[in-house]
């Protein structure tokens, strides 16, 4: 199993007030799945995804990643996983300002074991998201939809097994959003695991499986039959 969560909890302590964001999550995700995590805001869905994607740590519980207990990963191992096993797409893009599209996509390669062909690989990733004509634009000179595609290219460039997308269409108009979802679907068809966080039922229905969270607990976990999936094309 690619991802196995057992009784994961996450507490935030703010001025001595403890908030239980996640209250015992059990979840398994297999290689190649297209999973949407749904829930209203404050339900803990983003926190769950950050924990699965190694951007955050659980307070308690067991997380097996490809069968390895994540509690024993040291900082460098975590960095290596973030670099080449997972890729992140954020709602607010998080591109480096005053930096070209190409250099934004090269960024993860700087921290990878790949020593050569950084620009070639980055250009290939940008081609995959249809932005070959924007390589030398600065990240603030392109539209929101294009920014999100740059972010996807950046998530892709180290060829990760899993791509995490946190409300990837949240800041986009519907047309740009459709393009982004189309790209994610294509990546899933190529065999990559996609884990998506959204509060939008239409966006969630691009996935093959929807997990719904409320108040830090999973309240439903359903497979979406192929006929009910929304396809952008």
């Amino acid at each position: 199993m690619l991802i196995e969560l057992k009784n994961i909890t996450k507490d935030y302590v703010n001025e001595e007030v403890v908030t239980n964001v996640l209250r015992g999550i059990d979840l398994t995700v297999a290689d190649g799945e297209f999973l949407a995590i749904m829930g209203p805001s404050g339900s803990g869905k983003s926190t769950l995804m950050h924990i699965i994607g190694f951007l955050d740590r659980p307070t308690a519980g067991e997380y097996l990643f490809s069968g390895h207990d994540s509690r024993y990963f040291n900082d460098d191992e975590l960095a290596s996983i973030r670099n080449n096993s997972v890729g992140f797409v954020f709602q607010s893009f998080n591109l480096l300002p005053r930096t070209t599209v190409l250099d934004n996509v090269v960024l993860p390669l700087l921290y990878s074991k790949e020593k050569k062909n950084h620009e070639v690989k980055a250009k290939k990733a940008l081609e995959a998201v249809g932005l070959s004509d924007r390589l030398y634009y600065f990240s603030n000179q392109i539209s929101g939809g294009q920014k999100q595609r740059v972010a996807i290219a950046r998530a892709l460039v180290c060829n990760p097994k899993i791509i995490f997308a946190d409300e990837p269409t949240g800041n986009l108009d519907s047309k740009s959003g459709a393009t982004v979802m189309e790209i994610l679907d294509k990546l899933n068809q190529e065999g990559r695991t996609i884990i998506l966080v959204t509060h939008d039922l239409n966006v969630a229905h691009h996935a093959r499986r929807i997990v719904t969270i409320r108040d830090g607990e999973i309240i439903s976990d359903e497979k979406i039959p192929e006929t009910k999936r929304i396809r952008s094309w």
Binding site: R82, N84, F88, P97
Partner: protein, 419 residues
């Protein structure tokens, strides 16, 4: 290795991309470094200037001043106090009783107007004896200094400073000309003098234009122009440097006897040698240097605060950037290296520019001082440079690196969400 080069290239690209922030950081360092270099150079230049002027006067000299004063402090006359305890008889007594002294000259000074035809110049006069050129260096471009005989006889002769001569005689012809001297103290109007010499251009000594003065025989200056019977200052030359202290002791004894004083506390005169003067001026200029060093310190602090501010202002942006870099796989080590590298590049560029600007401006000041007639030495203190660069670079690195190290220890999501 390739990755290192790629990282360096990217870092430089990043610094250029954030050129505004980079510029401000560099500016802070430039101000600190250049400020310190200039201020320290100014202090050292001023000190050598002042001390150099003393040795220019001549060697083996003793000065006798009226009134008691602390030998390590400035004489009372500096503060404009007139004391009348030294009189011409004192000069004769010393001359008879102190064999080590080869030459002596009494001085009085005052302000007069020198008139020639339609031209007139307000200037200061120094009245002394014919021994003056044998005590200190006097160089003439025209004519001669007055002789002992001319001075003793009270002949109305005058030696002009270079600037005075130029103003009164724009077309030359000074020697032999008759000028008139007018003073507010003098009764009966202007006194005529025959010009017998013009001094070579001297420039400034002790911040006083040496070319804007005239020399006249002692008794005329004292009695006829100032209308006084005391002496403002006596300068004596000793036959050998080893005898200076002995001569000073003898002068004191002779003057005590002459003035009927029993105890040294009653002394109504003071005797100094050039070494004393150098010591006093070194004391004064040391205070100046300490003051300047404090100013240099302030300029370093200002530069440091500038660096600190610009680094801290960008902390939230940089923290988010660190979060992103960690999210795409940067290790803490890589992040620290990147920020360290950036800080080193910024601070060394700033340090180098600061040194260049500081040295250049110090040089301009020395050139300007030369043009103004001062014998100013261009001095650059390596310690000042090392200190200034060290402090600025350290501030830059600490305030550049500390937030980065702190941010690199956060979980990526917390750094990404930092506000």
């Amino acid at each position: 290795m390739n990755n290192l080069i790629a990282n360096i290239k990217i870092s430089i690209k990043d610094l250029l991309a954030r050129s505004g922030r980079s510029f401000l950081t560099i500016l802070g360092i430039v101000i600190g470094v250049a400020g310190v270099i200039i201020i320290i150079s100014l202090g050292a230049g001023a000190q050598t200037l002042v001390l150099g002027q003393i040795t220019k006067l001549g060697t083996n000299l003793i000065g006798i001043l009226p009134g008691k004063s602390n030998e390590n402090g400035p004489p009372a006359a500096v503060f404009g106090v007139q004391i009348k305890t030294l009189i011409p008889e004192d000069v004769e007594v010393i001359r008879r009783n102190v064999p080590e002294i080869t030459e002596m000259a009494p001085f009085v000074r005052g302000n007069v107007t020198v008139i020639y035809g339609k031209e007139n110049v307000d200037t200061s006069f120094t009245a002394t004896e014919g021994s003056y050129p044998r005590i200190q260096t006097v160089e003439m471009i025209k004519g001669v200094f007055f002789s002992d005989e001319e001075a003793k006889a009270g002949t109305n002769v005058i030696v002009l400073g270079y600037d005075v001569a130029e103003q009164l005689f724009p077309n030359g012809g000074e020697i032999g000309a008759l000028v008139k001297i007018k003073s507010s103290n003098a009764e009966g109007g202007a006194i005529p003098f025959r010009v017998i010499g013009v001094q070579k251009k001297l420039g400034n000594i002790f911040f006083e234009n040496q070319d804007d003065q005239v020399f006249i025989p002692f008794t005329i200056g004292q009695k006829q122009i100032l209308g006084i019977d005391y002496i403002q200052f006596i300068r004596a030359k000793v036959n050998h440097a080893d005898n200076i202290k002995l001569a000073m002791a003898e002068i004191k004894q002779v003057l005590r006897n002459q003035h009927g004083l029993k105890n040294t506390v009653d002394d109504d005169f003071s005797v100094r040698d050039l070494a004393d003067a150098i010591k006093i001026l070194t004391n004064i200029t040391d205070v100046l240097r300490i003051f300047l060093a404090l100013m240099a310190g302030i300029s370093l602090i200002v530069g440091g605060i500038g660096i600190m501010n610009i680094m801290l202002v960008t902390v939230s942006e940089r923290t988010r950037e660190i979060g992103l870099r960690k999210a795409v796989g940067a290790t803490n080590h890589q992040i620290r290296n990147k920020f360290l590298f950036e800080a080193v590049v910024l601070t060394s560029v700033g340090g180098i520019i600061g040194i260049i600007i500081g040295v250049f401006i110090s040089y301009l000041i020395s050139v300007g001082a030369h043009l103004a007639g001062y014998d100013w030495k261009f001095i650059i203190s390596p310690i000042a440079i090392i200190l200034a660069v060290g402090v600025s670079v350290l501030t830059g690195i600490i305030f550049g690196l500390y937030p980065a190290i702190r941010a690199s220890k956060l979980d990526p999501i917390n750094a990404l969400r930092y506000e």
